[in-house]
Assembly symmetry: C2
Homo-oligomer: 345 residues x 2
């Protein structure tokens, strides 16, 4: 059913067999009566090279005019590629132009675009290498979250997004209403509203997950949560997906064991299933990323008590902005020192 | 780490081996110096029988006073059960009462409770057979959704819940605001709001999923969606989780193939992994449920064109509330006749 995915072709490399692929043109290069088309279908970072020649009926009329972004269906045969940098390519027997792209108006071209520019074309940016890779990694990790908990005997519970509980005051809530602003008046503005009282968007599924932990033992939630704080830090967005496990009959050691196993499993999955995408990030977005991930996967996690942590911080001789003394809360700068410097030493 | 789950014990039945389980007491029965405790941990519908006797230090002081709902940790040995209806039971060597339950105030007892009554104790109702089973089936099917699409090469995309798009007018939207009602005034009530304009809860992730289908080929969303219509039908709730696949380079036949495979896979998963829970529903909630599911799993899906459907409806001689004529839309009653009667004939 449907076209073969490029990721499957590159993995299996069925040379000599007919293939049909569909995707979007990344580049076209003409040379000696041939056109070399780089076609990407989003199934992986790599594109597949397609060779078109003058035996194609629409070669002069369409193929030689193709520009970046065109949607194509290609039938042909997979052959060993004489060019370096790729093992196989497609010798096209028919190319159908499903949708052309006008280079005068299509905003993506063969060059690096800034993330700021890509923000202005959200409908197209997932066709770029970097944001296409983000989508693949996010999907692989999302599935890995479910796999990990499923294999460990956790039940997924879907906790409500609209709620009247602020969950121990985890953050500022958005209000949800079915009324027009003009109707939200008087001493009881939400009295005539959908739920008959003020309701908002959840800041956490924790309370509902705890209920299910007390009937099913081990449960987790994985859904969107919300904060109405206008924060522009790396801490959280107004809307983000959060994983929350809850376990009955568990102690702190068991909790740490699950948490460590979870992190390791996600990192391992990313390294195994998304290596091509991670290499892109390592090269262009965050140098050393893969080394850091390998360390997380392979090195034992340090576990230390609060008392040991305070002693470690005091021993460091560092000049922290917040004071360090047994009895005081640890601040982000303290946790960062412990995780990024002390534990690695 | 932690207790062994009852579902694993009943599957593996490691007779003669020491086991530790934790769960909630369903019933206690005393007979001839022994107490028979039915302990359920939510990992499956079945409870595990635990035998307590006077050799336990806390037998007279605690065990003989235990009531439904108590949280227990039991250490003991798994032995073959002489009683009918169960293959194994636990001979307890130690029972720790983690939390007692007072029969005078604990609302669940060994009898059938109405769903209406259970609505009034949402914090406890997942401990009942029926709603505990719902939680297990829902979790199994949720994971099956991800497995199906993952195996078929679909990427999961997380589409925004807060949006300014009403997605082709799929339904009435809830409004989301970070302002107090008194601030939502004047000619531009949402001008000073979090997003600087009116925003609401998504009615569908379709538009965003289409964007990713046009860069990655096959994608799906699985997240909460919302309708602000005060509808008390079986059509939809104010908040519900929806699965939306989007495929580029696909036609109607390919679409039907995926849809049919998807339904079959979910039904098959439920029948295989949740048979005990489905038997409960079949007996007490929806007679004939398992037969209906087996038919969906095993029988070919009928495919017919609009023209064939209209002809079938006209041939039926039925007296429908809405007229049937080529060119008119099919109504719910027509679809129901085709699916529930014509296709089964």
């Amino acid at each position: 059913m449907g076209p073969t995915r490029v990721v499957d072709i590159l993995r299996d490399q069925p040379v000599g067999r007919p293939v049909t692929i569909s995707g979007w043109l990344r580049t076209r290069r003409d040379s000696g009566g041939l056109s070399f088309l780089e076609v990407n279908d989003g199934s992986c970072l790599a594109s597949l090279q397609v060779i078109a020649d003058t035996t194609l009926a629409n070669y002069d009329g369409e193929i030689r005019k193709l520009a970046t972004g065109a949607a194509l269906r290609i039938q042909g045969q997979l052959v060993a590629s004489p060019a370096s940098g790729q093992a196989v390519e497609v010798q096209a027997s028919a190319i159908t132009v499903l949708g052309p792209a006008d280079p005068a108006t299509y905003p993506l071209q063969k060059k690096r675009h800034s993330f700021e520019f890509l923000r202005s074309i959200t409908h197209l940016r997932s066709r770029t290498n970097a944001l296409g890779a983000v989508a693949r990694v996010r999907s692989a990790l999302s599935f890995a979250v479910h796999r990990f908990f499923h294999e460990q005997g956790f039940l997924q519970v879907h906790t409500p997004v609209i709620t009247t509980s602020d969950c121990e005051g985890a953050g500022e809530m958005f209000t949800v209403t079915a009324l027009e602003p003009a109707a939200l008046q008087g001493p009881d503005p939400f009295g005539a509203d959908f739920f008959g009282r003020r309701a908002g968007l959840t800041v956490s599924g924790q309370l509902q997950a705890e209920i299910f932990a007390l009937s099913h033992g081990r449960v987790y939630t994985f859904g969107p949560t919300f904060r109405a704080e206008n924060s522009n830090t790396s801490r959280h967005l107004a809307e983000f997906w959060m994983v929350e496990p809850e376990m009955a009959f568990c102690d702190l050691a068991g909790d740490m064991q699950v948490a460590e196993g979870f992190i390791r499993f996600l990192v391992e999955t990313a390294l195994e299933e998304c290596s091509e995408d991670l290499e892109l990030f390592d090269r262009f977005v965050s140098k050393g990323l893969i080394d850091r991930l390998v360390q997380v996967r392979d090195r034992p996690f340090v576990r230390l008590t609060y008392t040991e942590a305070v002693a470690e911080l005091e021993r460091s001789g560092r000049d922290f902005a917040f004071p360090v003394r047994w009895g005081l809360d640890l601040q982000a700068e303290h946790e960062r020192f412990l995780a990024e410097e002390a534990a690695r030493a």
